[in-house]
Symmetry: C2
Subunit: 217 residues, 2 copies
DNA sequence: CTTTTATGTTAACATTGTTCACATAAAATT
DNA sequence: AATTTTATGTGAACAATGTTAACATAAAAG
């Protein structure tokens, strides 16, 4: 942080910090290298000492972004002290919250453009240490406990994930009025989804107040 | 089509045709005006006589694209001669087929980038003449007939749409192995979704062979 | 104290979307 | 038929952007 030094000291982290700050407000498409050089008061080519290209900067953001994402949605799924259905419910709620609070980051993580990086990241992790893996494992727990119907857990996870990803995308990509509360939509969705995979046993195992509709089954 | 003419005749349609051809293979991001001028053998600025900007070309594509999309998914929902559940099922199937066969177009239509254009288009149509409107109307039909639980039809439509949009997006944005058959995933999803909104009456009203699981309800 | 390595600068380039002055064909008007 | 107007296409130039290469300087290693 010393002034007037030719070498900045931690330019790389600065670039990343500024870039993450930027996508809080605007889409990653709008981020230019000029913005980064201006905000760090460096030359336009300084960034190339730290990232081989703009894409590599973005790849780094994606890697860090997935960590943030996983930390937001996965831990609750592993909380064996809580009722399974509650954990599903909360995890989905956190998922939606992450997407709607970080729309540009969410789009970066789950969009098509950087699918290659994503696959690279995914292949490094083993199955159970990221969001989808945690979901699948929780589903298998439910099947063992007799709470969920015994079926292909991978497929069930995809079905749930599709709904979350779909609703999140519709919310952040401009298909809902901003005013519209998607909380209610989420609860409806959750009940619909659950209705498709639960057994009757579940009624005894949740503390969620709005789950009353399930008793209609 | 006459050769050596200074005035091309139907350049505008040519530009659009080439652009649609292009996004069969590559993302709209990769389409440059140079490609369009090269393929039409015109100058780089010729396109500005027909579109005020690249964005306006893309806006036109979106308008035409939505027509294609609606024609693919909505008509089946209005086929009053078929069982309602079958229509839901087929409409969703067509939805997925459209997305997976036209991934770049689908992303263009439902992505964030051109949300403004989309809203413009949507506001011009009345509610019942596009995909979502048709879905909502079909849901209301089901509620009147006692096939579907009486609930907020808008919310139910969003829940269904979220699932379709989510699964479609996961498929086309690189979250599934290409080999993986999403047909089975779709059937699982459909059954889960339906389980959340149908009444018991529905069992009598479908001809779909795989709907056997519903009888477990 | 010298050499090497890491980091930053300046200048230049190609690509892209865009604009403007100009050219020419087609259509409208006289 | 001749002239004017409008529609459409061209060529040159611009600014913004990502990128590279040659050069500069500070820090680290020897």
């Amino acid at each position: 942080m010393k002034k007037n030094e030719y070498h900045h000291g931690n330019l790389k982290e600065e670039f990343l910090r500024i870039a993450f700050e930027f996508i809080k407000k605007e889409d990653i498409d709008k981020l230019t290298l000029k913005i980064l050089s201006d905000e760090t008061a460096t030359s336009r080519s300084a960034i190339y000492r730290h990232f081989s290209s703009k894409d590599e900067l973005i790849e780094t953001m994606i890697k860090q972004g997935f960590k943030q994402f996983d930390d937001a949605v996965a831990p609750i799924l592993r909380r064996l002290d809580k009722p399974l259905v509650d954990r599903f419910y909360l995890s989905g709620k956190y998922y939606l919250a992450f997407a709607s609070h970080n729309p540009n980051l969410y789009r970066l993580l789950f969009g098509k453009k950087y699918a290659r990086i994503r696959e690279e990241i995914m292949s490094l992790k083993d199955d159970d240490c990221h969001g989808f893996g945690a979901l699948k494992i929780a589903i298998e727990e439910g099947q063992r406990n007799g709470i969920l119907k015994k079926d292909n857990s991978y497929n069930q996870a995809i079905v749930i994930w599709s709904s979350l990803h779909g609703l999140s995308s519709l919310v952040i990509d401009g298909f809902m009025d901003v005013e519209q509360m998607y909380e209610k939509l989420y609860e409806d969705m959750f009940q619909s989804l659950l209705a498709g995979i639960i057994t009757n046993k579940v009624k005894l195992l949740t503390t969620l107040p709005f789950m009353n509709k399930l008793s209609k089954l």
